[in-house]
């Protein structure tokens, strides 16, 4: 039995900021959902099911908030699923929704992910109490900084690479009206002289804490044929997980990430990702993760990722643009960040990314990760429908 092809026909996101005090949680998710429906020129009645994702419930102080959000998302009388797979959740949520269409359980599904981080303090929310974690790990930066140092030592990458990524992504964000950070006056020197938070990660190389939501309408071939605008077609999707910490874990290039990428490339018929993928939206919460993931995802040989960054290949006008939207470094509502990557990849192949559109994108990769570099979700989308 062959799967039903899945098309993205509607995409919506909120304006992301540090604190969306103008809307409730329900208002925030509805803003993104309404924009996705408008893009697809569909109404709530056209939606068969809703799949929602977010990171820990403690971030808003609401337990299983999908129960409260059923009305705002037009889910009453419909199936509603809530996914939580840590930072990768935005991607996982989209994949769970896509499976509903692929399995022909539903025709048209609304998928949405959000975080309203201003309701709490995300850094301390991510700092687990004793006895779950040893003390003195303040936030995700404290957890990931040693892995970045390991990457630098392993590859001999020059210390300046991180700042290049941050400067690029923050400049890209100026082209994205929805991005949280719009730092008009940012210079490379300012990035390099910003305060050191978790050596070697500086303030300007760190993701912000954002309020925001992202929504997509996924549908089958029939739905895609009626879509008013070009759809993005899903060519492959996969999730992989591995344990948090164990002897022999490669924290720099986790095997779960490599396996996940290999699975989506196989599904999409991609044998040379560097040549066959035109743009990447990858989950880079700290600048150095761009070169690290470029290697993990097979775009560069081991130890060579930083050279792509250094030579400008990943810039918006480069040969392999990475995070033309500005990425997680410019916008990070944690639960939504993964779906924003998936959605921005889809916008690129639909030619609807606006000022940050990369010319001629036919195939794009959306990537999300979470936990202790242990949960991965990815999809490859194309401008053309899948051949099989």
């Amino acid at each position: 039995m062959s799967k039903e092809p899945v098309a993205v026909v509607g995409i919506g996101q909120t304006k992301h900021t540090a604190a969306r005090r103008d809307v409730s949680i329900a208002g925030l998710v509805r803003e993104a959902a309404v924009r996705a429906l408008e893009d697809a020129e569909l109404t709530w009645a056209d939606i068969d099911a809703v799949v929602i994702g977010k990171a820990p419930d403690f971030f808003e102080g609401v337990m299983m908030p999908e129960l409260y959000l059923a009305d705002a998302l037009g889910a009453v009388g419909k199936p509603m699923l809530r996914v939580h797979t840590a930072g990768s959740v935005g991607g996982s949520t989209a994949l769970v929704a896509a499976n509903l269409v692929a399995a022909r359980v539903h025709r048209t599904v609304l998928t949405l992910a959000f975080e309203k981080q201003s309701e709490s303090n995300a850094m301390w929310g991510l700092s687990l109490p004793v006895p779950f974690q040893q003390p003195l790990l303040a936030g995700a930066g404290g957890f990931f900084a040693p892995h970045v140092r390991a990457y630098m030592r392993r590859t001999g990458a020059p210390p300046a690479i991180g700042a290049l990524v941050a400067y690029k992504d923050r400049r890209n964000a100026l082209l994205n009206p929805y991005a949280h950070l719009h730092e008009q006056d940012l210079t490379l020197e300012k990035v390099q002289s910003s305060p050191m938070l978790w050596d070697p990660i500086r303030y300007s190389e760190t993701c912000p804490s954002s309020d925001g939501a992202c929504a997509m309408v996924l549908t089958d071939r029939t739905g895609a044929s009626r879509a008013p605008r070009p759809p993005a077609w899903m060519h492959g999707g996969a999730m992989r997980s591995e344990p948090t910490l164990f002897a022999g874990k490669d924290c720099v290039s986790p095997r779960a990430g490599r396996d996940c990428a290999a699975d989506v490339y196989r599904q999409a018929g991609i044998t040379d990702p560097r040549r066959e993928i035109d743009a990447i939206e990858m989950y880079v919460p700290f600048s150095w993760y761009e070169p690290m993931w470029l290697e993990n995802l097979g775009f560069a040989a081991e130890g060579e990722g930083w050279k792509l960054t250094e030579s400008g290949v990943t810039e918006i006008g480069g040969d392999l643009p990475v995070n033309p939207s500005g990425g997680v470094l410019s916008t990070n509502p944690i639960g939504a960040s993964g779906m924003l990557r998936f959605a921005e990849a889809a916008l690129q192949v639909r030619g609807r990314a606006g000022e940050h559109q990369v010319e001629g994108v036919r195939t794009a990769l959306g990537h999300a990760y979470g936990g202790g570099s242990q949960f991965f979700a990815m999809w490859v989308v194309g401008a053309a429908p899948p051949s099989t």
Partner: protein, 353 residues
């Protein structure tokens, strides 16, 4: 639709406290039990999906500890819902329907004992207008029970009969937390907890874990002598605001059952997840379950109601009855949210003997 079956089910005992074990330690014997039943290792399963709640665990990303216990190495295809395990089973079922996987491991667990569960559950409510009032889950269920009594659909004696039947049915269920009951008449001598509910109308608060293995087609036949085939499964949600719902009805259960094919042929067994006694009355009516249907032979929620696992246990108990040959067509139901806000219905069948 691809043929997918529940081929193994396991559960821990449900206990009022389990301070001596972590969530992972509570779960691991159950995982070993179901994997042992089908002779597979965790790494040989195509897809893994779990359900649990950070609010019960008291820490963010609590499901990662369980995953470490599962042994996700080499890396596995895996997902998690912040819902009862019945919905994790639903996600895994859909994954198998796509053809991307032939086997799935589904598990869920919850420890309510470290906190005050009715107070914790107030955090599920609308955070702006309702949660600040801290209306606990027992009080909300009492509103529902009173509405049912006011409508003339039940009375306190009938509710006591529901509790007594469930707990007496659980006499042989070694996983149950509360077994055997005084006669319904004697139960009515107890004081109200929240009028019109007495203690027996409320589920015991307990810690527990459950797991099932799903398999498709010939793989299911190879792993299980009599697979519990999932003929249909659907779930629906209702408005969150109690004021806009008719609390004496459960249209989401009715719709889910219709979509799952529950009314296409009679069932001989039903496992309903009705945490409060009045909710069983509502569910039976919506599902058109008459006295000919064996209802909750496991005892149901009056006997054990481990948060996040109780719904999955309903599906597992129904499947296990089919595995044993105790039933041929069974209905299983799971609920989530205040006053039956969200409901899932599955129809399971064993092949003719």
């Amino acid at each position: 639709m691809r043929d997918v079956a529940i081929v193994a089910f396991g559960q821990s005992g449900t206990r009022r406290t389990s301070a001596e074990v972590s969530e992972v330690e509570m779960l691991m014997p159950v995982l070993h039990q179901v994997l042992g039943a089908v002779g597979l290792r965790a790494g040989e399963i195509d897809f893994t999906c779990s359900g649990s709640s950070d609010y019960l665990a008291g820490r963010a990303f609590s499901f990662t500890m369980a995953l470490d216990g599962v042994g996700a190495w080499p890396p596995i295809a895996e997902s998690h819902v912040e819902m009862d395990g019945a919905w994790a089973l639903y996600e895994a079922w859909v994954k198998l329907l796509t053809g991307e996987a032939d086997t799935a491991l589904v598990y869920s667990y919850g420890k309510s004992s470290p906190g005050d569960l009715p107070e914790v559950l107030t955090r599920q409510l609308d955070p702006y207008y309702v949660a600040p009032l801290w209306p606990d889950s027992v009080s909300l269920a009492a509103l529902q029970a009173q509405a049912l009594i006011d409508a003339g659909d039940t009375d306190e004696r009938a509710l006591a009969e529901v509790a007594a039947r469930g707990r007496n049915a659980a006499a042989d269920n070694r996983h149950a937390q509360v077994t055997r009951s005084a006669p319904p008449g004697a139960l009515l001598d107890a004081p109200y907890l929240v009028r019109p509910l007495r203690r027996h109308d409320c589920p015991p608060i307990g810690d527990g874990a459950a797991a099932v293995v799903l398999a498709a087609g010939d793989t299911a036949r190879r792993l299980c002598a009599r697979p519990a085939w999932i003929r249909g499964m659907d779930h629906r949600i209702e408005p969150h605001g109690l004021g806009v719902r008719d609390l004496t009805r459960s249209p989401s259960t009715r719709l889910a059952a219709t979509r799952a094919g529950a009314f296409e042929a009679p069932v001989d067994l039903a496992e309903l997840h009705a945490p409060f006694t009045s909710q069983e009355i509502i569910l039976r009516r919506e599902l058109e379950l008459d006295d000919g249907v064996r209802l909750n032979p496991s005892g149901g929620a009056p006997a054990a109601n481990p948060m996040m696992a109780a719904g999955l246990i309903r599906l597992g108990e129904a499947a296990a009855a089919l595995h044993r040959g105790d039933a041929d067509r069974a209905l299983a139901h799971a609920t989530s949210g205040p006053c039956l806000q969200q409901n899932l219905v599955a129809v399971l069948e064993g092949e003719a003997r």
